[in-house]
């Protein structure tokens, strides 16, 4: 049966070759440079307790994040489980799911978390100190610049209270594995089913503000990340200055109705009454002098006889308000009553003649009561009755008659 032997040998060879091909395909792992910076993730959905949709959703979130132009920020996703008794690296690993991304200048910072870190870091914590203060594995582009070099190596930062010797840079995956710096699922370093956080962005001081004029200038930063800040007018770094609605950096707010300088914002408002006489500043002819009552023009109501002789001058009334002058005899008998809207009484020759016609040419020891009248209501706004011993004289050669102060005697000038 010589031909049978040949067939056995040939068949065995064919089957062995096929098995080798199968083994090669299943265990093939990419080594060397990533073509076009491709990044592979192998996720096993071997745990029936985690639904496939959940894994797909988690992975979808990660991939959407990876595809972002701006890689800053972080993302959480579920650590996949693998079969019992096996170990599997989270990244990088062979698989059928291929995803493209650019490495430089991105940093991959991986931080393994759970509600209780001690639960899945127990193996790593064996030794004097049962707990790790922090553990993290970072993979980054050490240049951390925007060049197209894509020269990325692994950087590992792992803080341990009793052993910091393993901190440093690692350029190959094997050394990472050897130092147990990339946790394996089910290896005791990290539990399947935990959540893994991947943070993207340059590590620490690599990114920052490189503008020396900025108040947050970082001497260690090599790449400007657009976070430079400057002092505002209040001296705050990156502040917004005096807040709107306030008068200064202390936050003082102006009095209601006034600006920060004390200027009344609405002069017609009753709030804008500087002399507090009830007359808004817009209508107050004497804004700094308090009038007796608010019904006038804002100036104090006043009756004057300048130089003690001449016409009475009335102050404080509005142009439309009129003045009523009651002229009485010494005994108090009302002799005449005059009303005028003018601020001077007598105002002119005509008025002077009218007074003269009623009172006579010369009259002594009169008393004059003055009332300021509101025309619309006819009510007395303000009154003054202090004028006693008032004479009314009409001199020869003078057109206008005048009132004169003098007790018991009329004074006539020499001419």
């Amino acid at each position: 049966m010589k031909s049978n032997g040949i067939k056995y040998a040939t068949g065995s060879g064919i089957i062995a070759a096929a098995l080798f091909g199968l083994w090669a395909i299943v265990t093939w792992e990419f080594e060397g440079e990533f073509p076009e910076n491709e990044f592979t993730i192998d996720v096993c959905n071997c745990d029936e307790s985690v639904r496939k949709e959940v894994i797909e959703n988690e992975l979808g979130m990660l991939l959407r994040f990876i595809e972002k132009d701006d890689k800053s920020g972080n993302i959480d996703f579920l650590v996949p489980r693998v079969n019992s008794g096996t170990e599997s690296f989270l990244i990088p690993q062979i698989g059928m799911s291929w995803f493209s991304m650019q490495f430089a200048p991105v940093t991959y910072r991986m931080e393994y978390r759970d509600n209780d870190e001690a639960q899945f870091f127990n193996t790593a914590q064996s030794g004097l100190n049962p707990r790790l203060n922090a553990i993290s594995t970072s993979i980054l582009n050490t240049k951390c610049d925007s060049s197209d070099a894509h020269d990325f190596i692994f950087f590992v930062e792992r803080q341990r209270t009793n052993d910091a010797s393993i901190n440093g840079m690692y350029s190959d995956l094997e050394s990472l594995i050897r130092n147990e710096l990339i946790p394996k699922v089910n290896s005791g370093l990290i539990d399947a089913g935990s959540r893994i956080r991947v943070e993207f962005g340059c590590r620490g001081g690599d990114f920052g503000c490189v503008d020396e004029t900025a108040c947050n200038f970082s001497a260690e930063a090599r790449v400007d990340d657009g976070t430079c800040l400057w002092l505002d007018e209040c001296g705050v770094c990156g502040g917004l200055g005096i807040p709107p609605g306030t008068c200064d950096c202390s936050g003082r707010v102006p009095i209601s109705g006034y600006d920060c300088a004390g200027n009344c914002l609405d002069p017609t408002s009753s709030k804008c009454d500087a002399d507090n006489d009830g007359v808004p500043d817009a209508f107050d002819e004497c804004p700094n002098t308090k009038a007796q009552v608010p019904s006038g023009n804002g100036c104090p109501f006043k009756v004057e006889l300048p130089g003690g002789e001449g016409s009475f001058i009335f102050s404080g009334k509005k142009p439309d308000q009129f003045v009523r002058c009651k002229v009485k005899s010494k005994s108090g008998k009302l002799l005449a009553k005059f009303e005028t809207v003018n601020a001077v009484f007598p105002f002119d020759l005509k008025e002077s003649k009218t007074i003269m016609r009623i009172l006579g040419n010369n009259l002594a020891d009169l008393s004059v009561e003055v009332e300021f009248i509101e025309p619309s209501e006819g009510s007395v706004i303000w009154a003054e009755s202090d004028w006693k011993n008032v004479n009314f004289i009409c001199r020869l050669g003078e057109e206008m008659c005048a009132f004169q102060l003098g007790e018991g005697i009329m004074k006539f000038s020499d001419n």
Partner: protein, 308 residues
């Protein structure tokens, strides 16, 4: 497939092709049971069918895992190539399975006939040739097994790459062993089951066509003259569809006597007919041995392998 393999077995004679196809079905194992080196029988059909169904179930497992896994991957990465790959893998492993089973069982009738000839041939040189033919792995058998193994490896690869991508080494070995067992089932059971199905179908179809034909031809009885050194001790014997008729008695030159008989069969001479016929006589007698020899030759005549 149990007898009666078809109705009207006395009047109806199956075609030569159907009889040759019948040779591919499973026969009684000569190593564990004394037999006549069967031609027209089918044994252990239910066992073969059971194993075949199990294998098909496992095959469906591969089909499901491959397509479902590929769909899952496609959902993740929208890569149509994954779906194409899975369909190609499925088509390949199904095709290889079918081709493998058919190839492996296609040379079986020649070995069955060689085995029958080995029993009848007095020539030692010819016997050696026949043993060589029986033991030789034919090209069809060889490539049939190779196709079946390739199919199993494609299945395992498709499952590991598409349906079960995170399987570890233990799982891989288990899956591989499972599909190698499927290869064994295809080689030692599926081929027999498939041949029995095809034979049964052919026989029933032919018989139905024969029955439906109003001008159907009644199968002529086939006869074979044989000699025995011992008499049958009866002038004639009939059992079911077979008859044995005494013809003459002769005296040989050495003084011994030779008895001539005629063996007649109506319809196809099934293996179980031989067993029943031989059972009517003393199986240790010289007449019985001559009778069995005559029966086996008459079967070969019905197959056209010996002249009538």
């Amino acid at each position: 497939m149990n007898s009666p393999y078809y109705p009207n077995e006395r009047q109806f004679m199956p075609s030569r092709d159907a009889l040759l196809m019948w040779l591919r079905t499973r026969k009684t194992d000569e190593k564990t049971k004394p037999t006549i080196s069967g031609l027209f029988e089918t044994v252990n059909f239910v066992t073969d069918a059971g194993w075949t169904m199990l294998a098909i179930l496992v095959e469906f497992g591969a089909l499901f895992l491959t397509l479902y896994g590929a769909y899952g991957l496609y959902s993740q990465n929208q890569n149509i190539g994954v779906l194409v790959l899975s369909v190609v893998a499925v088509v390949l492993f199904i095709s290889f399975d079918v081709i493998g089973v058919l190839l492996h069982s296609s040379d079986r009738e020649s070995k069955v006939l060689a085995n029958r000839e080995l029993r009848l041939s007095p020539d030692k040189h010819r016997k050696r040739e026949l043993v060589s033919v029986i033991n030789k792995i034919t090209n069809r058998e060889f490539f049939g097994v190779v196709f079946l193994f390739l199919s199993s490896i494609i299945k395992v690869g498709a499952i590991l790459l598409l349906g079960f991508s995170a399987a570890n080494m233990y799982v891989t070995v288990i899956i591989l062993m499972l599909y190698f067992i499927v290869v064994y089932v295809h080689v030692y059971h599926t081929g027999y089951w498939l041949s029995a199905r095809r034979t049964s179908k052919m026989l029933k179809q032919e018989e139905s066509a024969w029955s439906a034909n109003e001008d159907r031809e009644i199968a002529q009885p086939q006869r074979f003259i044989f000699h025995s050194s011992k008499p049958m001790e009866k002038p004639a014997f009939q059992l079911n569809r077979q008859e044995i008729n005494f013809l003459t008695e002769r005296e040989e030159p050495d003084g011994s006597k030779s008895f001539e008989y005629e063996l007649v069969t109506h319809g196809c001479f099934w293996d179980e007919d031989i067993v029943k016929l031989a059972g009517a006589f003393d199986t240790r007698s010289d007449f019985c041995r001559s009778l069995i020899d005559a029966c086996m030759r008459l079967q070969l005549i019905q197959l056209g392998r010996l002249p009538n």
